[in-house]
């Protein structure tokens, strides 16, 4: 490696700080009933939150927390196969995250997970892309697998690339590897859910 690129550990570190700041603004806590919480991503700039379906207990009162303030939210749609849920949270807003095309992902590139692992709020974890797992039939990206340390509380939070683009939504841990739903599938899910509601 070119030493000057890594710059100095300090330059990388200040980048990570910027990364953390961006994600802090884009991520909320999701709480449903009395159970533990997960993370969620503010979608489309305002009013919507995407999280994992398994973070939302059906029928239980739903709240999203942003900077320590809790607000009520409603579930708009679920996609159990992709483990996704779309929530309406009218008074909430955050930055727009660009979507990263999973076809352009390369094993070994840096990825970052943001969430609230084991209740620790706004924690950033760094790792590398491990592989893109494809659907056996359609060959479309089905899961993004990353060598990044996740824990309960990361569920529903973002996995982003080195430029802060959304790679996926962290959903589970398999054999120690983080597994995320590709951002493209999330986008499709949201678009379908909204058009069905509009119709």
């Amino acid at each position: 490696m070119n030493i000057s690129t890594l710059g100095s550990a300090r330059a990388t570190s200040s980048n990570l700080n910027g990364m953390s700041e961006l994600l802090r603004q884009a991520v909320v806590e999701v709480r449903s009933g009395e159970s533990g919480s997960g993370a969620g991503i503010i979608w489309g700039g305002a009013g919507l939150v995407v999280t994992n379906a398994h973070c939302v207990r059906r029928g239980a009162p739903l709240q999203v927390g942003d900077a320590g303030k809790w607000r009520g939210a409603q579930a708009l749609a679920y996609h159990p196969q992709h483990d996704l849920a779309l929530l309406a949270a009218p008074s909430i807003s955050g930055p727009l995250l660009e979507i990263r095309d999973p076809e352009s992902l390369r094993a070994g590139e840096l990825v970052f997970a943001f969430g609230h692992p084991l209740g620790v709020r706004d924690a950033l974890a760094m790792g590398v892309l491990h592989a893109v797992a494809r659907d056996g039939r359609t060959k479309y990206p089905r899961w993004i697998v990353a060598d990044v340390r996740l824990a309960p509380g990361n569920s529903g939070g973002p996995l982003v690339d080195a430029e802060g683009r959304l790679v996926g939504i962290n959903s589970m841990v398999v054999n120690g590897l983080g597994v995320a739903v590709p951002a493209g599938l999330v986008q499709q899910f949201v678009e379908r859910a909204l058009s069905q509601r509009a119709a």
Binding site: A11, G108, V145, G164
Partner: protein, 310 residues
């Protein structure tokens, strides 16, 4: 959605990210998948022209072994030899042309160096990332092989990664990853150690490991014995078994003898005996000094080569 980026300083991070991905791409040109066990295939490195190395424990067959080459072609490899002490195996593939793994300068590796573990646990390569957490000097595997330097990793070595390379940020090979050799803790055998084993495997199909055929246990010697015989140490090695027909048996060593010295070096731990054995050349003998019935005796033993019958 319109883009939003974490500040202008993000270029450093993006460059690092793309260099890491490029390193994995470079490495993917010399990593093969070896299909010789159930479930997940293991990884192998194209070490020399037509020669693949991998972790021996992952290759659970001794005949023709299917191998997926970096270009996606599948071919068969034949096993050249194994060394269970370092858990290495060498295989030969015919015909297929692949890149030979470029080697990194091993002396440049330091604790804290950024490294990637790359494997081919299927058709595509996969990667994990971390740092060298420690460098062990003079480490001995539980099977008895002595390795000058071993790289301890703060890098996850996932299923199918054993036998694959540990690479630096340019994609050059630092070592061969193994999750089994150090009982589950991720480590890598440095390239130089792999080279030594591969040389021997190519030459004679196994690695020579001189043995004399005894089992020993350290015992404390009484103060009077130490004084009487002017010994330098107060522990020595009690012979607890002698294999029939072994070099020790032929040299007249009995169970109950206590080894004091080998070639003039004090023997107080079992590894001392292994150290003496590993320094001699094939056919040479070792001068032994031992206690029998309270008297110091001397004799010599000519180790034989165990490597071929592991």
């Amino acid at each position: 959605m319109s883009p939003s980026k974490p500040g202008s300083a993000s270029t450093t991070l993006a460059e690092l990210s793309s260099q890491l991905a490029a390193a994995v791409e470079t490495a993917s040109n010399f990593i093969v998948a070896i299909h010789a066990r159930r479930r997940i295939p293991s990884s192998g490195i194209v070490w020399r022209d037509g020669v693949i190395v991998s972790a021996s424990h992952t290759v659970k067959r001794d005949d023709e072994t299917p191998v997926t080459l970096p270009n996606g072609e599948t071919t068969t490899a034949t096993i050249v030899g194994r060394d269970s002490a370092t858990d290495l195996i060498a295989l030969r593939v015919k015909g297929a042309k692949s890149h030979i793994a470029p080697r990194a300068d091993a002396d440049a590796v330091r604790v804290g160096s950024l490294v990637l573990a790359v494997g081919r646990p299927g058709r595509d390569v996969a990667a994990s990332f971390g740092i060298i957490s420690a460098i062990g000097e003079g480490w001995r595997t539980w099977q008895g092989a002595r390795i000058d330097r071993v790289l301890r990793l703060d890098v996850a070595v996932y299923d199918g990664f054993s036998g694959g390379p540990l690479v630096d940020a340019s994609g050059a090979v630092l070592g061969l990853n193994n999750s089994a050799l150090a009982r589950g803790t991720p480590m890598a055998l440095p390239g130089a150690a792999v080279d030594r084993v591969v040389d021997e495997l190519l030459e004679r199909g196994h690695v020579r490991r001189p043995f004399i055929g005894v089992a020993v246990q350290p015992v404390a010697l009484s103060v009077s014995l130490v004084k009487q015989h002017e010994l330098t140490r107060d522990t020595a090695l009690l012979i607890v078994s002698v294999a029939d027909g072994s070099p020790a048996d032929k040299a007249g060593i009995f169970v109950g003898d206590v080894l004091l010295e080998g070639d003039g070096k004090a023997l107080s731990r079992p590894t001392d005996l292994l150290d003496v054995l590993s320094t001699i050349r094939s056919g040479d003998s070792i001068k032994l000094k031992y206690l029998r019935g309270g008297a110091v005796k001397s004799g010599s033993v000519t180790p034989s080569d165990r490597g071929g019958r592991e």
